[in-house]
């Protein structure tokens, strides 16, 4: 038989209740329960309200507000700071300058042009060096003669 089922719902206390009842040997002052609500209310009104929980809550709200402000400022910074300003120099690549010079070569003085082609000490960007390497001496000569801007000088002595 299930042991649990053997335990009566009320723990079989009927015998005890029949003998001893449920009275306790305790007395109370006659008007105790009439006076108790008033005593409790007096204590409630005289006890200062706790400030800690409200203060703690205010601190929490202030911290949350500070975090929100920081996040908002950071978001605004990244949102409006995506454009990169180019300096004046960066606006034109060296390639642009080179081709501009080529386009406007007619305006260059002869001496400057000769210096530009002949001097080995001029350091060109690799792109330009490559392009210059691809231009043969014959091409240069042909250009100079065709444009007839300058007299042809033999650059290299053979």
């Amino acid at each position: 038989m299930d042991r649990k089922n053997n335990i009566h719902e009320n723990g079989d206390d009927s015998k005890l209740k029949a003998y001893a009842g449920n009275k306790l040997p305790y007395d109370i002052p006659e008007t105790y329960f009439e006076e108790l609500p008033g005593k409790v209310l007096d204590r409630i009104h005289n006890v200062p309200a706790r400030q800690v929980s409200m203060r703690a809550r205010m601190m929490q709200l202030a911290a949350a507000a500070a975090v929100l402000v920081i996040v908002a400022l950071a978001s605004l910074h990244f949102l409006f700071n995506t454009e990169t300003e180019l300096t004046h120099d960066e606006a034109f690549s060296i390639e642009d300058i080179y081709y501009y010079n080529l386009d406007n070569m007619a305006e260059l003085e002869d001496a400057y042009l000769m210096t530009y082609i002949a001097e080995d000490s001029i350091s060109l960007p690799k792109l330009l060096e490559d392009e210059v390497d691809e231009i043969s001496d014959e091409d240069i000569m042909e250009y100079l003669l065709a444009e007839n801007h300058i007299e042809y000088y033999i650059i290299n002595e053979y």
Binding site: K4, D12, D13, L16, K17, L24, D27, P29, P37, I44
Partner: protein, 157 residues
């Protein structure tokens, strides 16, 4: 709330603490704390089981703050607790009720709480479970054993 539950709470505490003045202090503290905590009451239990829980905790806190030997007597039950009935104020009653109360005070603390709430307050096991946090099956077993112990003492003579 005070007028509705004051008597039930008073007798619950008086059975634990025995002395009227101690009971009065703890009951007032219970009602004040309950009034403050009412906004936090989540309605996941009945109001009176919630009040019982506050009252029980207040009584245990009170006993801890008073003499250490009183706490030990409360926890272990036994003669020390039983002797309180003879020395406390506002005690009067017939012999049988005195025997019954002394026998109850001989029980260990948890079992005493279960017995008081079931025998005197006639609470349902489910409600006692809400107050003490013990399973219904455990409460039934505890109450059954408590009744047997008390019967043996009270009916002995």
């Amino acid at each position: 709330m005070v007028e509705k539950y004051q008597r039930r709470l008073y007798w619950h505490l008086r059975r634990l603490l025995v002395d009227h003045d101690d009971t009065d202090d703890v009951l007032q503290n219970t009602l004040i704390n309950a009034w403050r905590a009412i906004p936090k009451f989540r309605h996941d239990s009945q109001l009176y089981t919630w009040l019982y829980r506050i009252a029980t905790n207040e009584a245990l806190s009170f006993i801890k703050k008073s003499r250490r030997d009183r706490l030990l007597a409360y926890e272990e039950g036994g003669q020390a607790m039983s002797d309180l009935v003879d020395t406390s104020s506002y005690i009067s009653g017939d012999e049988i009720s005195m025997k019954l109360q002394k026998a109850v005070l001989m029980l260990p603390a948890k079992q005493r709480l279960v017995f008081n709430m079931k025998y005197f307050d006639e609470m349902k096991y489910e409600d006692i479970s809400e107050v003490l946090g013990t399973s219904v099956g455990g409460l039934k077993a505890s109450y059954h054993l408590a009744v047997k112990k008390i019967e043996k003492q009270v009916l002995q003579d």
